[in-house]
Amino acid sequence: MIASASYTVIFYLLAALAVLLSLAVVNAWKLLRAAIALMGVLSMSAGLYVMLDASFLAGVQVLVYVGGIVVLIVFAVMLTRSAELLQDNPAPLRKILGAIASLAFLAATVGVFRSSPFLLSAEKAPLRDNTTLIGEKLLDYGAGGYVLPFEIISLLLLIAIIGGIVVARKTEPQGQPFTTGGDEAGEAEFRPPFTQEEHEDELELVEK
């Protein structure tokens, strides 16, 4: 009885903290504070995963979300100088409309939950370790296995890495042709047909 009582207490504690911190994420004026609050929300979610018998997922959540994604977001805040340039306070009308839209979504979804019967299962969680089952499922190529999505997600991550590098790297100033910065053979000898200044001179001549 003590166990289930403490289960209830911990659930409501984690839930209240998660809701308060996520309100801080969407309302904080300073984006770095919002990033730290996001870290808190994701840690609370990890705690909730532990309560749902998903300890492996809780570990993944802390490693990938709290350790990786939040750090990336902090980098994004700093590299775009959002912390000092843009104090994020939206217009009141926008706040009201956003609140109406999200409350309407909340009301609709809660109404669906109240009116739909869920097929609850009376079974207990399996005695075997969840982690073993997840590993077997991920590499199972039979019926109900997940080896194909597993491989596709690795391809997606590779594409994201390459895309991130290509999009975020320094590009040449406008008017210059695309170069690889001297990496390719023969590029050093390559000279554009005319430079930007010559082009402007030519334009002036034409105008005269």
Binding site: T8, V26, T80, F118, N130, Y146, A160
Partner: protein, 110 residues
């Protein structure tokens, strides 16, 4: 007191209310934020609550399997890829425009 708490352990509906609340807060942030990085954070909140929903249904409707948890792992991987590309786009955009205010990004409008 202990008895009352022990009788009111959270059911499936309570878990679903929690994840819906988190999703709605994320939706509010998505609609009101002006800074693109703030919008990215709101999207992360929504993805996180969706993953939580998968695990909740896994626990209460099919506790002998782990399919919901595997889906949550895929959601986390997709969120990681999304943040990488989003951050790259914002950094490139900041280099060109000097701001990541989504109100200022209306070049195609004129």
């Amino acid at each position: 007191m202990t008895e009352f708490l022990a009788q009111h352990t959270p059911t499936l509906t309570h878990w679903l209310y929690l994840s819906t609340l988190l999703f709605s807060i994320g939706l509010y942030g998505l609609l009101t934020r002006r800074n693109a990085v703030g919008i990215l954070m709101a999207v992360e909140l929504m993805l996180n609550s969706a993953a939580l929903n998968f695990v909740v249904f896994n626990r209460f409707c099919a506790p002998a399997t782990v399919d919901g948890q595997i889906m949550a792992i895929f959601v986390i991987a997709a969120a990681a890829a999304e943040v990488v590309v989003g951050m790259a786009i914002f950094v490139a955009l900041y280099r060109y425009r000097g701001t990541v205010d989504v109100n200022a990004m209306d070049t195609m409008k004129d």
